[in-house]
């Protein structure tokens, strides 16, 4: 499989950092932030921007993906879900880059 692209973790860090090589990465990250902070003006503004730049289908699908992770994060954190075997070592560098090692859920989950 040839994956002819270069990505980074910028858009995961925040919308202010950049696209990270992902089309509309910063804008999608801003949408996630608006959903999290639930500021109505911020949400309205970013909805308009996503529709204008990427289209209404992208807005709906992006909101759906983000909303799904309000489910997955709560399942993982409320059940003490540990990292999967085989992902602990390979994810060391990524976890450091993305900055998740100080989360309470890092300390609390087993393994």
């Amino acid at each position: 499989m040839n994956q002819d692209f270069q990505i980074s973790f910028e858009a995961i860090d925040g919308s202010h950092v950049g696209d990270g090589g992902i089309e509309h990465g910063a804008l999608l990250s801003r949408l996630c932030e608006a959903m999290f902070y639930e500021d109505p003006d911020q949400l309205a503004s970013v909805r308009d921007d996503v529709i204008e730049v990427a289209g209404a289908e992208v807005l709906v699908d992006a909101v759906a993906v983000s909303a799904n992770f309000y489910m997955m994060t709560r399942i993982a954190d409320a059940t003490g879900t540990p990292l999967d075997a085989g992902t602990v070592e390979p994810s060391v560098e990524i976890r450091e880059l993305v900055g998740v090692n100080n989360f309470t859920s890092r300390r609390e989950a087993q393994a």
Partner: protein
């Protein structure tokens, strides 16, 4: 009939999945009745829309936040608020404290499933400025509340079954109905959980897989979820 009245192009399968999830909330569960499951969803909405409590504050400690004749035990209500508003602060000790207040460990798993689904479905509607899904009339049948002797606490805080797959799917395995609900929502909102690692490049509806994963990772980080 569509769940959402809007001009936004909500895919029919996505709309149908939210309708199906709402029906499942009203169904008699393994541990909670349909009325209790609907009350759980209602309490998620109270937690999101009500007073902003700090993680160390519980609604049961605040006068007037819980009605005297509430259908749910106060430990369940406290858990719902904490899981909804402060998931990144949950600890093994906190979980143990909820169980010690009389919540059956498998009933807790079912509660987590419903709370998590309600957070996803309502967050979707709120973000698009849509009316939230109507809550159906609950089933009147009583739950069996039968402990499954094949589940045990091993890798998670909660009892799990011996199943293969990612640990986050195993998390709810003590209550298979909630695994099915999670899969139903994930398939419509994210991707088929079986395709999680099998296909890393195909587009997902209007998004590229890379866009999907950026959104997933950014949302998880905002929620301070290590997993």
């Amino acid at each position: 009939m569509a769940v959402y009245a809007t001009e936004l192009p909500i895919r029919p399968d996505l709309d149908a999945s939210h309708s199906e999830i709402a029906s499942r909330w009203a169904t008699t569960g393994s541990w909670w009745s349909g009325a209790e499951r609907i009350a759980i969803v209602g309490e998620v909405r109270q937690a999101r829309d009500g007073d902003d409590l700090a993680p160390w504050e519980s609604p049961s400690q605040v006068d007037g936040l819980i009605t005297d004749n509430h259908l749910l035990p106060t430990a369940a209500i406290d858990a719902i608020w904490r899981i909804t508003n402060h998931p990144g602060t949950l600890t093994a000790d906190w979980h143990a404290s909820i169980i010690s207040r009389g919540i059956n460990p498998e009933a807790y798993v079912e509660l987590v499933g419903v709370v998590a689904q309600a957070n996803a479905v309502d967050r979707f509607a709120d973000a698009l400025n849509l009316a939230r899904v109507d809550l159906p009339e609950p089933s009147s049948a009583e739950p069996q509340r039968l402990a499954d002797k094949s589940v045990a606490v091993s890798s998670h805080w909660v009892p799990t079954a011996q199943v293969k797959g990612p640990n986050v799917i195993k998390a709810l395995s003590a209550v298979p109905f909630e695994v099915d609900s999670m899969s139903l929502l994930s398939s419509a909102q994210y991707l088929q959980l079986g395709d999680l690692l099998a296909d890393l490049v195909s587009d997902q509806n209007s998004l590229t897989r890379m866009q999907v994963e950026v959104i997933a990772a950014r949302t998880s980080k905002l929620n301070e979820c290590f997993y």
